[in-house]
């Protein structure tokens, strides 16, 4: 707070719009005194009372429980009443305040949340009470209550909903808040008709499990994370979209979701200096994503990794024929039984080799090893972490240059879900010639490519406006010639989008590893 000691005024850059009189939204800058303890809501109230009574926003409780005052502050949705001005102004004392994105504006910071409430109603949010009730209360253990509590604490503020990438393109999507409410009901033994909440919920297959909703929930709830639990209920009943069913069956039979032969898994590495990590002592075990194994475009990033590690003197190995799908996407699709078997088998294989280090090609494998493999005895890292360290230690040297303007797309499983934002950027910045520019939505505010949570195998209900298309357009608008990323899924999605949009003459999608090799 004292860092801004000399800065006695704060400037609120507020997006104003009254559709009755204004042609389009416009920013207005308004000043208030900057004192510790003043919240953004306090500042807005002060402006309304003293400067401009027409400034319009919702508020009531002013302590973060009624959910009225959600707005977008410096790009992130939050409750204005809980957000201290001093925490959000930049060095110049400026803070940007906008209405919630993805929903229509009624006036200034007031948005039309009707689609939000429609989705809430659609899952029949009420508990269906028992016909016969006990004389007193139903017995419920404190533990059971704790798990329900988390969902019932939702204040319906809409921060998650408006931040959700799927909602941004399709208001027919059930949305994180409604999934959370449905989860609450189906987890409650007092609810006598779980089906009521699950009959009209099939759009939950559209969720990309990016967890942007989790990131932006001001009450620190986990709305998007319940998608897998709800899906698992549908899976149990066999209510799975056909193409997802194919991926699940293939994973069971072929140990990859792409219906490819397990025997061909290492075909991409033919002729490359790659050890069998099970039998040879290696510096690191390279765990290659199914997509990077079989997809011709994604294979290039795996090949680049091997080439680069060889040059850096790193002795890289794989699990060979024991490498199978990590199960990340099966878990997110809600095939929990299959997932548990996969975890058990793969944990055993992974614990065998001598090395303590796994490096993954994909953020998805990295995430699942780090967070959902309880008995894994190795240190799992995403390759960007490993490579950034090699560069810092001088093990990778660049002889060439990449004289391009590059922008970086944060994969959700790496960024939002695991807070790895700096390593990929530090690699790009260390490559001679690269001019790194940021998209408007980056780091914690990044836009999902649309490929996670099973969406790789499922078109979804959202037609036309694909997230990856929007992402590519955003990248193009920065003037970047290269859209870099660090995930086989993102690579695949974004690359397809560039082709579909016929923007190949303007921008090229590359994995960071490919750029490293280019400059080596």
């Amino acid at each position: 707070m004292s860092g801004n000691g000399h800065n006695k005024t704060a400037t609120l850059r507020i997006e104003r719009f009254n559709p009755d009189v204004d042609e389009k939204p416009a920013f207005e800058e308004l000043q208030v005194e900057l004192v510790p303890g003043k919240t953004i809501l306090d500042a807005l109230l002060e402006i309304k009372e003293e400067q401009d009574g027409s400034l319009t926003f919702r508020r009531s409780c002013r302590h973060g429980i009624c959910g009225s005052c959600t707005m977008n502050i410096n790009g992130t949705n939050m409750l204005a009443c809980e957000s201290a001005l001093t925490d959000h102004v930049n060095e110049d004392g400026l803070v940007t305040v906008r209405p919630l994105p993805s929903v229509p504006v009624i006036k200034d910071l007031v948005t039309d949340r009707s689609s939000f409430w429609e989705q809430y109603q659609r899952i029949k949010p009420w508990l269906v009470p028992a016909e016969e009730v006990p004389e007193k209360e139903f017995r419920i253990s404190p533990d059971e209550v704790n798990s329900l509590n988390n969902a019932e604490r939702c204040i319906m503020c809409g921060a998650c909903y408006s931040a959700c990438p799927v909602i941004s393109i399709d208001k027919g999507f059930v949305g994180p808040h409604a999934m959370l409410k449905a989860f609450l009901r189906v987890s409650d033994s007092r609810d006598k008709d779980h089906d009521v909440h699950m009959t009209d919920i099939e759009t939950l297959w559209d969720c990309t499990t990016c967890y942007m909703c989790v990131e932006q929930c001001p009450k620190e709830l986990s709305p998007g994370k319940v998608a897998s639990t709800l899906r698992s209920l549908l899976v149990e009943e066999g209510k799975v979209p056909r193409t997802l069913g194919v991926a699940l069956t293939s994973t069971f039979r072929n140990k990859n979701p792409f219906e490819m032969a397990h025997a061909d898994r290492l075909a991409w590495a033919e002729g490359l200096p790659l050890q069998d990590g099970k039998t040879n002592p290696v510096d690191a075990l390279y765990f290659v994503c199914c997509l990077a194994c079989y997809d011709p475009r994604a294979q290039k990033l795996a090949q680049a990794m091997v080439t680069s590690m060889d040059a850096a003197g790193v002795n890289l190995g794989t699990l060979g024929s024991e490498e199978v799908c990590c199960g990340s996407e099966m878990q997110r699709i809600g095939e929990m039984g299959l997932f548990e078997v996969m975890v058990e088998e793969l944990t055993e294989s992974l614990n065998k080799p001598q090395t303590q280090q796994i490096v993954t090609a994909s953020p998805h494998c990295f995430n699942v090893f780090s967070n959902h493999y309880p008995d894994l005895n190795l240190n799992a890292e995403h390759y960007t972490q490993y490579v950034a360290r090699l560069i810092a230690d001088g093990k990778i040297e660049f002889k060439g240059e990449v004289n391009k303007r590059v922008t970086y797309h944060d994969p959700c499983y790496l960024g939002i879900q695991n807070d790895i934002f700096d390593e990929p950027r530090s690699i790009l910045q260390s490559i001679p010639g690269i001019e790194l520019v940021e998209m408007e939505r980056s780091r914690k505010q990044s836009l999902c490519c649309g490929g996670g949570g099973g969406r790789m195998w499922f078109e979804g209900h959202a037609s036309g406006a694909h997230l990856s298309h929007e992402r590519v357009r955003e990248a193009v608008s920065t003037g970047a010639q290269i859209l870099a990323t660090a995930c086989p899924f993102c690579l695949n999605m974004l690359d397809d989008a560039v082709k579909t949009l016929a923007l190949d003459d303007q921008i090229e999608v590359k994995d960071i590893m490919e750029l490293v090799v280019e400059a080596s």
């Binding site: 009574g53 973060g64 009624c66 201290a84 009420w126």
Partner: protein, 600 residues
């Protein structure tokens, strides 16, 4: 601003616990054409901000034997003797009310309590639990045993979600973000309301056979308050303007622990769980005021004790206007398990971790004991004799049954809103099914509302115009000093003069926002006008009542005076003049619960 008439069997204004219970119940009883109007989205109603708990003598918890009044609690094993009873809940409430509560209504409150808490539970409310899975309970001020059923410290939020969802299940229709301006009563028969659709700014007349108000409290008449921005007492002002009297308005509760300067509530559960109050010398000063109950004495007493400490120079903070609430001895586990929201609030607004630091607090306007007088079925009454206003009902904080009398006990108001909301629902259903009719509307029913709006919009005054916000600020300042925790004749007389001047000035007040769409400037102005309307009633009642009772504390009349003042104040509007005051007897069971000295 067109005037289009909408018709319902029943219109309920307010979607907090009281209004929503009434709607859900009436709908469940078969009344299908119900419209519930709320100026904010129903789930944003202030009931959701309640933290601490809801009282019911369900006998799930007891103090551990031999540990004293502040010791730990445990579940009551099956078969063991109970600690609580209806009689005890009734007695605590009567004593808390300083014998101004109506004892017949209090008995209903206590006995319906048990049933309504179980009904909440059966409808899915996520209560905290005892180890063996029953609803957990904690201590609260003025209750002699652990009686507060709770859901961590977001009890109100859980209750509101539960009842709102059940109302949706029963097909209740909500008008969200509609602002009611006027209640239409003619010849003592209620005919409907006039409301503005906030989105479009259009004014509509809504006709109904029955209207019920669950419009909440009026704590926003004070500068430092725990109340949400929405708690502007619109309902009481509208009823008063329509000729319905207001009862016991002078009784305004100050909560002992609002955050210093901000007023945001630190629930009484902080003290229920064992928190201390200390002055600038580090003394637990409640020793001197309520040696037995200490920090868990009732709110009026604790707030007054704090104010005396402050007035005598033992306050904390830069201006000496604060007191410390110290929970540092409770330990992290208890705080994170039972008071998570309090911890979050102190962190967000004060930058303090309550596990490690005491929190600066101050006595803060919190609860409105007074309101629209009703019988125990929510039926509004027209006079001291108890004659009904046909077709008009009220429940919750805007109503005065009266179960709280001169001072409400914590956790009794979520209960009141629920119990009397539900009872109103039953009564309304019976009224409708008994053949209630739509009565003709007066000529141009929206006229008064339209005039209010048009005047506030009018441009002719130029720079001569007054700022609505400024008038509101001055009013709140004045109410805090002139009609706050301690009152006396001079102060009240000044306050009365000032409020009349402010009312006069308000005639020249104009809004800055001249647009139709979602005009919150207009809404704030209308709310300020309402504050001015009923503040006059609060002050008039306080000035007339020459005694000290519960939350009404006159330094010039420091004693309770049962001979002259064991009665309810009834205030009727009298044109532009001060209200006409009359008095109504308190319902007392002289055998069972005769007035006693109130000591803690």
């Amino acid at each position: 601003m067109s005037t289009e008439t909408i018709t319902h069997d029943v219109i309920i204004v307010g979607a907090g616990l009281a209004g929503t219970w009434a709607a859900m119940t009436a709908s469940r009883e078969g009344v299908k054409n119900i419209g519930v109007i709320s100026k904010i989205h129903p789930l944003r109603s202030h009931s959701g901000a309640a933290q601490g708990g809801i009282a019911a003598a369900i006998n799930n918890m007891r103090p551990v034997a031999g540990t004293g009044p502040r010791g730990p609690l445990e579940q009551i094993p099956a078969g063991d003797p109970t600690v609580d009873s209806l009689e005890l809940h009734v007695f605590d409430t009567i004593k808390g009310s300083d014998w101004l509560g109506d004892q017949d209504a209090i008995e209903i409150l206590a006995s319906d309590a048990i049933d309504i808490v179980y009904e909440y539970e059966h409808m899915g409310c996520v209560f905290s639990r005892t180890p063996d899975g029953r609803i957990a309970q904690r201590r609260f001020g003025g209750h002699s045993v652990p009686r507060a059923c709770y859901a961590a410290d977001w009890t109100g939020h859980m209750l509101l979600q539960t009842i709102h969802e059940q109302a949706l299940r029963h097909g209740v229709h909500f008008y969200s973000e509609w602002y009611v301006l006027d209640l239409i009563i003619e010849d003592n028969i209620c005919r409907g309301v006039v409301a503005m659709d906030v989105l479009t700014g259009e004014i509509h007349t809504l006709r109904a056979k029955a209207v019920m108000f669950g419009t909440g409290g009026y704590g926003r008449a004070y500068k430092v308050t725990t109340n949400a921005h929405a708690n502007t007492g619109d309902g009481v002002a509208m009823a008063y303007n329509a000729g319905v009297p207001l009862m016991d308005m002078e009784f305004v509760q100050f909560h002992p622990t609002g955050l210093y300067r901000l007023g945001i509530l630190m629930t009484e559960a902080c003290r229920g769980e064992g928190g201390y109050l200390t002055n600038n010398k580090g003394e637990r000063f409640m020793e001197n005021y309520a040696p037995e109950k200490m920090e868990l004495a009732p709110r009026d007493l604790v707030s007054r004790s704090e104010q005396i400490e402050i007035n005598e120079g033992r306050g904390i903070g830069s201006d000496g206007q604060g007191i410390y609430l110290d929970m540092t001895h409770l330990g992290r586990e208890k705080i994170e398990g039972r008071l998570p929201q309090v911890q979050e609030i102190a962190h967000n607004f004060m930058g303090l971790d309550i596990v490690e630091n005491p929190v600066p607090i101050q006595p803060t306007a919190h609860y409105s004991m007074g309101g629209i007088p009703t019988d125990s079925h929510g039926q509004a009454i027209a006079d001291a004799e108890g004659n009904p206003v046909v077709g008009f009902y009220a429940a919750g904080e805007c109503a005065c049954v009266s179960v709280h009398g001169a001072n409400r006990l914590g956790t009794n108001s979520l209960l009141e809103a629920s119990v009397f909301g539900r009872r109103s629902g039953y009564a309304i259903a019976e009224f409708i099914k008994g053949g209630a009719e739509l009565h003709p509307l007066p000529v141009d029913p929206g006229k008064h509302s339209r005039q209010r709006v048009e005047r506030l919009m009018d441009d002719s005054l130029g720079d001569e115009r007054e700022s609505t916000a400024e008038i509101g600020r001055e009013l709140k300042e004045m109410m805090t000093h002139g009609c706050g925790i301690f009152r006396d004749e001079d102060g009240l007389q000044n306050a009365l003069n000032e409020v009349q001047q402010l009312q006069e000035r308000f005639k020249n007040a104009r809004v800055m926002d001249k647009s139709q769409r979602f005009n919150t400037d207009m809404q704030n102005a209308l709310e300020t006008e309402n504050l001015l309307t009923f503040s006059e009633v609060i002050i008039s009642g306080a000035l007339a009542r020459t005694e000290s009772r519960g939350a009404h504390s006159r330094t010039d009349f420091p004693k309770r005076d049962d001979d002259s003042w064991l009665k309810h104040t009834i205030a009727h509007k009298n044109g532009d003049q001060l209200p006409i005051l009359s008095y109504k007897d308190v319902n007392i069971d002289w055998e069972k619960n005769p007035p006693q000295e109130r000591k803690y």
